[in-house]
Symmetry: C2
Subunit: 249 residues, 2 copies
């Protein structure tokens, strides 16, 4: 179990870990294939385990604490099979798609997946050097949204060029146009760059327009130099949805 903290062991076993009733529950009702559930008495045995060929093991609180990767283990741990990688990039289907360039913090990737799920974004493309999706910290930070959002690792330098002329590609940047004074296309790709370096130089030629979230710095030369990557992604996604009536109330 502890070895699954490391990507090489997750890959050799073809397994990853999810913990807690909320997150395990989301995987149970998804297309992911669960191999084993370890649960204390407080977690009710789910229906139809046999049909889905899921092994169910009752453990004590002490055992849970021993095998959990969390500081405060919570009732249940699932071993889940890593699905086969897709070998085609997702098509541009007339939806908003996020493209993540070198996002390295697991909490950020997890939070972005959760945010995408909130806003009904179904596809995320990650550059090959993003943090691994099955990192336990990513899985926990998605709060189960991983079960509903497709995440594909694909070289962005191959993916973005083929979109030219088909769908606008926007990039989050510290020196782009004001997020709140642009009209956005309904279907678009939004590129979010790495926490420390922003969007890679070799991707910039494929970006139709750079977007900046306005803050005090540009007006007063004080304040934070940048926003957290998952916060920036959320602010941009929300504005796209708002402009297209999706969020009007």
């Amino acid at each position: 179990m502890q070895s699954l903290r490391l990507q090489k062991y997750r890959e050799s076993h073809g397994l990853f870990i999810a913990e807690g009733p909320k997150i395990v529950g989301e995987f149970l009702s998804s297309a992911f294939r669960i191999r084993t559930i370890f649960a204390t008495e407080s977690f009710p045995e789910p229906d139809r385990l046999a049909d889905a060929r899921i092994e169910f093991v009752r453990i004590s609180q002490k055992e849970l604490e021993r095998i959990s990767l969390l500081k405060t283990p919570n009732q249940v741990i699932a071993l889940i099979r890593i699905p086969e990688c897709r070998n085609t990039p997702p098509e541009v289907t007339g939806n908003l798609v996020l493209a993540l360039d070198r996002i390295s913090d697991p909490g950020n990737l997890g939070s972005i997946i959760r945010t995408a799920d909130w806003f009904g974004i179904k596809e995320i493309i990650c550059s090959k050097d993003c943090v691994d999706l099955y990192n336990p910290k990513v899985v926990q930070a998605t709060m189960g949204s991983m079960a509903r959002v497709n995440v594909t690792y694909w070289p962005l330098e191959d993916y973005l060029p083929q979109l030219q002329g088909k769908v606008p590609v926007y990039g989050a940047s510290l020196d782009g146009g004001n997020l709140y004074s642009q009209k956005f296309a309904e279907n678009a790709i939004i590129v979010i760059g790495s926490e420390s370096h922003g969007i890679s130089e070799n991707l910039k030629p494929f970006i139709f327009s750079m977007i900046t979230i306005p803050g005090v710095r540009e007006q007063k030369n004080t304040g934070a130099e940048s926003l957290n990557a998952s916060v920036a992604a959320a602010l941009i996604c929300s504005e796209f949805r708002r402009q297209h009536g999706f969020l009007s109330g």
Copy 2:
């Protein structure tokens, strides 16, 4: 150094840790009093150390790795004095203020402080059971914004009642009014509730209006059940600023 991971030792020593040139640089140009800087050769010795009575110690990369709390230590570690606690809550000064109720994840608190700084919010009130501001993970997640945003720990059940009739108090909630269809006061308090339980029951009577960030769930009964607390805080802060022309461009 390692003991300063724990709040009780931070309190008994009156010290906390900040790491990396960007974050240490922000503290160097702030009112915080730095006791010691440990730096490798790659970090230039700052001016006026003597005036500020800062001890400056050159260390090797190996020593840095040994004392750092980070996985990838970065040039410099500072021991900084914890300032005296304020014993009055901040006045309502005609600005936007964030009130955080039981935020327990250090990454979330740090990210909220960084976001506040981005949007020019100067005051954050934390309930007494929020994670400690000087937790190293909070400090790192602020990316130095801690040097510009005042964070006060104060019982919200004492603070919020005294605002009644003076300034509107809004709360982030999963069943409030649509964020994008309300007109907000320019000066307000925004309450963000805990990651797992939202806003405490005993604070709800003091909330003038609950706000919800619209997502797909309310329309399609699918998608994430909630957003990360720091993401929710950012979306609300940005909308307040946008409505009051602060961010038009």
